[in-house]
């Protein structure tokens, strides 16, 4: 497939999957597809890898719907989602246990781009301009493809550990990326050829976020030590005050660009209004073991969703005061996105 160079690049590390059922809303309208919510489900309680079909994979909920429906692979351990979009061209990705899946035709068909060499794919990051350049984070390091996913090269020079949970592209410099690894957060400025540790000070990078309005403002959720913040591009780091010393799997900058949310293991959902330096508990439900995903509506910062471990998705429409479960009970929800 030919490389696509985006004129107006829009890369959202978001969404989905599905071999068979296409996006019915889009098809039915015959024009611009209406947005839907998509959820990446990693695990369903009681499901054993290799067992029967369960309730994993990619789920969709139309704006007018009240339920989530599986649209791709009900036994696919799904870690993350990604989207490359330029004009009317979209490429949708799923980072999953089987590898990196992509659909170029609105989720009608899918293709696994990787093979056994990359093993499981935990996250995907996309060059915002050149659709042929793809990065993935895996248990055995960062891999890069520059030929549209046909071939993959391991890119680990400078890294001291090989487990990489999360890779993101620096939105202010498409040659630069951040990789959240077992021991530290790493940065490259040459598309993965060389990596430099940013010395966060604690190990176990679980979430990596770059503020959408300030490229030097970085936040990481860690596996044992709460959230760490840098406002100088990773030169120095501060501990997010007020947070418990536990795992934080999700960090999200609200669409108001001022509020930051974080959630993790047995700790509920936290909120910061000072760039992540201090935090207060926003909501906690004893039923919820862990928060894996936080979604804030791009047009309405009061409309939020939280993906949990085993309790599905909770929604609030008042900025987090009142929450209700909106489905996928039993599911571990790794990512929630709104997507055309």
């Amino acid at each position: 497939m030919a490389t696509i160079k985006a004129i107006v690049p829009v890369v959202l590390v978001l969404v989905f999957g599905g071999t068979a059922p296409p996006d019915s809303d889009a098809e039915n309208r015959g024009g611009e597809p209406q947005n839907s919510y998509y959820a990446a489900v990693f695990l369903n309680r009681g499901h054993v890898s290799g067992g029967g079909i369960s309730n994993l994979g990619l789920f969709r909920r139309g704006l007018g719907d009240t339920a989530w429906s599986n649209i791709y692979r009900r036994n696919l351990f799904t870690f993350g989602l990604g989207l490359w979009k330029s004009g009317s061209t979209t490429r949708q990705y799923i980072a999953a246990g089987n590898g990196l899946h992509r659909s170029d035709d609105g989720r009608k068909t899918w293709r696994v781009l990787t093979d056994w060499r990359t093993e499981e794919v935990l996250s995907v990051a996309l060059d915002p301009v050149d659709s042929a350049v793809i990065y993935i984070g895996t248990p055995f390091g960062v891999f890069r493809s520059t030929d549209d996913g046909a071939r993959w090269q391991k890119k680990m020079s400078g890294m001291n550990s090989w487990f990489v949970r999360k890779v993101i592209v620096d939105w202010s410099n498409r040659s630069a990326l951040f990789a959240g690894a077992e021991d530290d957060l790493y940065r490259t400025t040459d598309k993965g050829e060389h990596w430099t540790p940013l010395h966060v000070g604690v190990p176990g990078m679980e979430a990596v976020v770059q503020h959408p309005a300030d490229p030097k403002h970085l936040l990481v959720g860690t596996s044992d030590d709460g959230v760490r913040v840098s406002v100088d591009g990773g030169k120095s780091w501060k501990e997010g005050k007020g947070l418990p010393n536990t795992a934080f799997y999700a960090v999200c900058v609200s669409s108001d660009k001022q509020t930051i949310y974080a959630g993790g293991y047995q700790t509920g959902l936290w909120k910061s209004r000072d760039r992540g330096f201090s935090w207060s508990l926003l909501w906690q439900d004893p039923e919820i073991e862990a928060v894996y995903a936080i979604f804030v509506h791009p047009d309405d910062p009061r409309h939020m969703m939280v993906g949990t471990s085993g309790q599905g998705i909770y929604e609030s429409r008042d900025g987090g005061k009142i929450w209700s479960n909106i489905g996928l009970k039993g599911c571990h929800v790794k990512q929630i996105e709104l997507y055309p």
């Binding site: 351990f77 590898g99 093979d115 056994w116 935990l122 550990s161």
Partner: protein, 614 residues
């Protein structure tokens, strides 16, 4: 000719050259059959098994296969096949290789409608690859055979959006890689009485239906290797010694393990038909996989049969295996595992060197003995668990891994569990003696050591010397706990428990062959006691075996035998009277009396010859 066809042609040429280089190619079957030959007896057991399985109505491809082969109940079998190929709720790697294996075996008997459904399954279902070594063996075996069966089809015809050629190449590359690793540095999920079946069954399927002669030959060699690996640890149907992973029911009752039925079929032991033996509570997890073995044209080379069953002389056998892929909290992806086995005709004492070698289900050591009774084993363990241990091997978030694993491996966090790896457990074995030391961290979730002693023992005596003496028929076990302990009565066993974190046990095993009477065994043992002065500081035990060998073992330190340090780095891939292989060589040499069978995985050749007696 498509790319796939061209690929095969080139391999045919290469294989032809390879064949020319052979001094002797093995036959695929045991020697000439007469009524009492191992080959003839195998044929009888094979037919018997197919007959038994064909009378079952378990859901799955194995019973279907047995029914078609025997011609019994084929109407039901066809309905089952229709259901299996229609039901969208099943899929994954277990389905993948069994579906294509059934298709290939029965294709002349199946209606087109069923064939189309199986083909459609590979187009529309997710044949999920899974996350363990056995998952991948099943997945890539299924993918290889499916891509071979339906070549030259484009991406739209496959569940993963890859063409036949792409799928074939990927599967072929991974299978070759796995075979190369397994034949040079070992399996990750090694010597498992349960998981043996999910390596053997796909390998037998691949051996049967791979068209590429090189792959076919290599697979046959892998089947030989898996059986040989089992054979040296085999005692009367029991898969003895340390295992990478197994379920607690099988660890405490070895003949209940699925591998025991394979031993019955291929090794002829135990003599009794296990499915009728309620005392062993046999489990057929996955359902009668042995039917695929019974249906296969593979025949066990006689030399492996002899290795599995000749226990006329005690032997020491050592091996190296590898740790399953470590993805974090480690410095090496696949560190070596060192195995030791002392085998006699009545018991086997076997061990892994200790530490975390596999997550969740490790079984580090045991003495397993021949018995007419169930629960014929004794061992100890530290019931360790931690999210970090799991996170070494699984990519999920470590905080919730313990709970999640506990949901399906129901005993993972159970303080009374009978399977566990532990970073706080190490072993030192010499012949029929083993020292097991524990140095449990103060922050470990469990701070006790447990031992399994079956109620089926004929005697269990606490001697005033500090030894605990046990007898099971003609097998004797002497067990010396270094620290205070208690006995807890349970349904099928006495649980020996010691709640001291710096701890250890010394075990010597004997038999009437070696020691005469039980009383004589006790007398010989009681003359010597482990020396462990200042153990809490030194973590060191000195012990002189009843055979006169002096063992010294320090937790985290040296193991010395008669003053000489035991260096695991000198361990070979296989080293014993029956199998020899240098680590990394890819050459596995089996020897029995004057028969030799050599598998060369790098040249993909099998040689057999008879050597002159020394």
């Amino acid at each position: 000719m498509g790319a796939l066809g061209a690929l095969r042609t080139s391999k045919v040429i290469r294989f032809s050259l390879c064949v020319l280089a052979l001094t002797c190619l093995s036959a695929r079957s045991l020697p000439a059959q007469d009524g009492s030959s191992p080959a003839a007896q195998f044929e009888q057991r094979r037919q018997r098994l197919l007959d038994v399985v064909s009378q079952e109505r378990d859901r799955g491809f194995f019973t279907v296969t047995a029914k078609f082969i025997t011609g019994r109940d084929t109407e039901w079998a066809m309905a089952m096949l229709d259901s299996l190929t229609t039901d969208e709720s099943i899929g994954g790697m277990f389905y993948s290789y069994t579906a294509i294996g059934t298709y290939l075996r029965l294709k002349d008997q199946l209606p087109d409608s069923i064939k189309r459904k199986i083909r459609r399954a590979f187009r529309e279902r997710t044949m999920y690859r899974g996350d363990t070594e056995n998952h991948w063996v099943m997945y890539y075996t299924g993918l290889y055979l499916a891509a071979q069966t339906w070549p030259n089809e484009d991406r739209s015809q496959w569940f993963n959006g890859k063409s036949s050629t792409e799928n074939f190449k990927e599967a072929e590359a991974w299978l070759n890689r796995w075979m190369n690793i397994t034949s040079t540095i070992g399996q990750g999920e090694f010597d498992s009485p349960t998981y043996f079946i999910v390596f053997m069954t796909p390998m037998l399927t691949l051996d049967e239906y791979a068209k590429d002669p090189v792959m076919k030959r290599k697979t046959q060699m892998m089947v030989d290797l898996l059986f040989a690996d089992y054979a040296v640890d085999h005692l009367g149907g029991n898969y003895s010694g340390g295992h990478a992973r197994d379920y607690p029911e099988d660890i405490i009752n070895p003949l209940s393990a699925p591998a025991a039925l394979w031993a019955w079929l291929y090794f002829g032991e135990p003599k009794s038909e296990l499915w009728g033996e309620t005392r062993y509570h046999p489990r057929y997890r996955g359902g009668w996989e042995t039917a695929f073995g019974a249906a296969s044209s593979y025949r066990l080379p006689e030399i492996i049969y002899r290795i599995a069953t000749d226990r006329s002389k005690p032997y020491i056998h050592t091996e190296t295996k590898r740790v399953r892929n470590i993805i974090r909290f480690g410095l090496e992806k696949n560190p070596p595992v060192y195995k030791y086995m002392y085998m006699t005709r009545s018991y086997a004492l076997g061990s892994l060197h200790g530490g975390i070698l596999q997550p969740i289900q490790q079984h580090t050591w045991d003495v397993t003995y021949i018995s007419e009774k169930s629960n014929n084993t004794i061992f100890t363990l530290h019931p360790f668990y931690s999210g970090k241990e799991l996170a070494m091997f699984f990519p999920e978030e470590q905080k919730f891994l313990s709970d999640e694993v506990n949901r399906y491996h129901l005993v993972y966090t159970d303080p009374n569990k009978w399977n566990s790896s532990s970073p706080y457990e190490q072993t030192f074995q010499h012949k029929n003696t083993i020292i097991v030391l524990y140095n449990i961290d103060k922050d470990a979730k469990q701070s006790h050591v447990d031992g399994f002693f079956p109620k089926t023992l004929d005697e269990r005596i606490e001697h005033n010397s500090g030894w605990v003496f046990c007898r099971a028929g003609s097998v004797y076990v002497a067990f010396f706990p270094l620290k205070p302990y208690e006995w807890i009565e349970e349904k099928v066993n006495w649980r020996w428990r010691s709640s001291v974190v710096k701890n250890g046990v010394v075990t010597e095993v004997g038999s009437s062959d070696e020691d005469g009477s039980f009383e004589e065994f006790q007398r010989r043992i009681a003359k010597s006691k482990p020396a462990f002065n200042d153990f809490d500081k030194t973590l060191t035990v000195h012990y002189q075996t009843r055979g006169g060998d002096k063992m010294k073992f320090t937790f985290g330190g040296d193991r010395t035998l008669n003053g000489k340090t035991v260096d695991f780095r000198t361990y070979k891939f296989f080293n014993g009277p029956f199998i020899q292989s240098e680590r990394g060589s890819g050459i596995v040499k089996m020897t029995y009396e004057n028969q030799v069978r050599e598998l060369d995985f790098k040249k993909v050749t099998i040689k057999e010859w008879r050597q002159s007696k020394q």
